[in-house]
């Protein structure tokens, strides 16, 4: 299982990287953590002419906060993110989600940006980005910068709105208000496996009522699925009058799960419904 031949280059600036991507006209692939790309290369399912290794670009590192938003450099290693004190206090849901990604060893190389940009439907970080209302800033040589909301980023399994010549330079995650409760559940047969069903969510409670909700599924469709109907149903509700089962039903209504090697769509809906209801109850019963 050896990769097919390719040229390799490790630029040191974003400009250089974008130039290479543009020049390659679609024949280049970005190498970040490599934890997903390397197996694809080994199986020859991916055969780029050029591998652009972005791990040496300093501008793609770092975690910082400003103006109610957290900026995460895309090549931040997953284990670095877990250990980062800034991120721990600003984005606890994201940190919880990262802890579920792969294994300790893969998190030493795997990156935040890599997972977000890949668009694996059963992955934790894309769904968490959608739930939190995150966005990515991307750059291309020909068209400059643009910002894509996570909600608009994912088009299908491993298919995103990123053009072939675009590089993610920043991940922006809005900071949620005080009084936000975090909800994260994942059902996988073994640690590190693709989730059979998962959900990631943030629910802000003020004066005993839900003032904001961001909820997204993973493993329940071709992309992360924003549970819009459930979010809408939660808004303005007071905690002591919530019908968890009914909201769970609405949450599942937005999903489009597959039948695949591991589970059927009916299994996912059945389990997802229960998982959501229980998670909602436990999250909202807990003190903030």
């Amino acid at each position: 299982m050896k990769p097919a031949p390719f040229d390799y280059y490790a630029p040191s600036t974003v400009e250089e990287a974008c130039g290479l991507l543009a020049e390659a006209g679609g024949g280049a692939t970005i190498l970040a953590g490599g934890q997903t790309l390397m197996p694809l290369l080994a199986l020859r399912m991916s055969q780029p002419f050029l591998l652009v290794d972005i791990n040496r670009i300093a501008a793609l590192k770092g975690i910082s906060r400003s103006a109610g938003s957290t900026r995460i450099g895309p090549i931040t290693r997953q284990n670095e993110a877990i250990a980062d004190a800034t991120l721990g206090s600003a984005q606890p849901l994201l940190v919880t989600a990262v802890k579920h990604v792969g294994h300790h060893q893969t998190r030493n190389r795997g990156t935040i940006g890599g997972s977000i940009a890949l668009g694996e439907p059963a992955a934790e970080l894309p769904a968490t980005s959608v739930a939190l209302g995150a966005s990515v800033e991307v750059r291309s040589a020909k068209r400059g910068k643009r910002r894509i909301a996570a909600e608009e980023l994912y088009l299908g399994p491993y298919a995103t709105a990123l053009e072939f010549d675009e590089l993610v330079t920043d991940i922006h995650v809005p900071e949620w208000p005080t009084g936000t409760r975090w909800m994260f559940r994942e059902l996988a047969q073994r640690p590190g496996d693709f989730a059979l069903v998962g959900l990631s969510g943030a629910i802000t409670v003020q004066d005993g009522k839900v003032s904001k909700a961001g909820l997204a599924w993973f493993g329940m469709g071709p992309t992360p699925i924003k549970a819009r109907q459930a979010e809408a149903a939660l808004l303005g509700q007071s905690l002591d009058r919530l019908d968890h089962a009914a909201i769970a039903e609405l949450a599942v209504a937005d999903t489009a799960p597959f039948d695949d090697h591991r589970a059927t769509s009916e299994y996912r809906r059945t389990v997802g419904r229960r998982m959501f209801a229980r998670a909602l109850r436990e999250t909202l019963e807990a003190k903030a």
Partner: protein, 164 residues
């Protein structure tokens, strides 16, 4: 196909080589550098047999390219023994707990445990056992690996019963 000059430290010695872009780190370590203690079990990052330390962190060497290790410090299982041949505490503990049978997954297991027990503070058994979920062993049923992990975390074990 591009070729690259790399310079890296392997098991405490400087190493210079010219490598193709696509050469994986595990193939480089085994072939060019001669460290056959790095084992290749799956080449897609699931089994963990190829685990080495890169700048002190446990990584799957089948999921890296050799060229990416330029300027880095790599430790393989061969680099764990002290000069006088005494086993590293991780190796010693695994031996005492009968944590291996065929030995193929073992270097990877050793490197993850060694990476996590490097610091002054003992890691928790939860940390070590969680990290062991990144290794597949087909022989032992993980019994000895689990006991070794608990001991390395400083936990006392129920003694293994001897039978008449």
């Amino acid at each position: 196909m591009s070729k690259h000059q790399i310079h890296l430290d392997i098991n405490g010695r400087a190493h210079d080589a010219s490598v193709e872009g696509r050469l994986t780190l595990c193939d480089f370590l085994r072939g060019d550098a001669g460290y056959t203690g790095v084992h290749v079990g799956c080449e897609h990052g699931v089994c963990g047999a190829c685990t080495v330390m890169l700048d002190g962190l446990a990584v799957r060497s089948c999921l890296m390219l050799a060229v990416q290790a330029d300027g880095c410090s790599v430790t393989t299982v061969e680099g764990l023994c002290s000069g006088d041949g005494a086993l590293h505490p991780v190796q010693q503990t695994l031996r005492e707990e009968h944590g291996l049978q065929c030995g193929f997954c073992t270097p990877g297991v050793v490197m993850t445990l060694a990476a996590l027990t490097q610091g002054e503070q003992k890691p928790s058994s939860e940390t070590l056992i969680n990290a062991m979920s990144g290794h597949i062993c087909r022989c032992t049923g993980y019994q000895g690996i689990r006991r070794a992990a608990l001991r390395l975390a400083g936990e006392a074990l129920a003694p293994v019963e001897d039978h008449g």
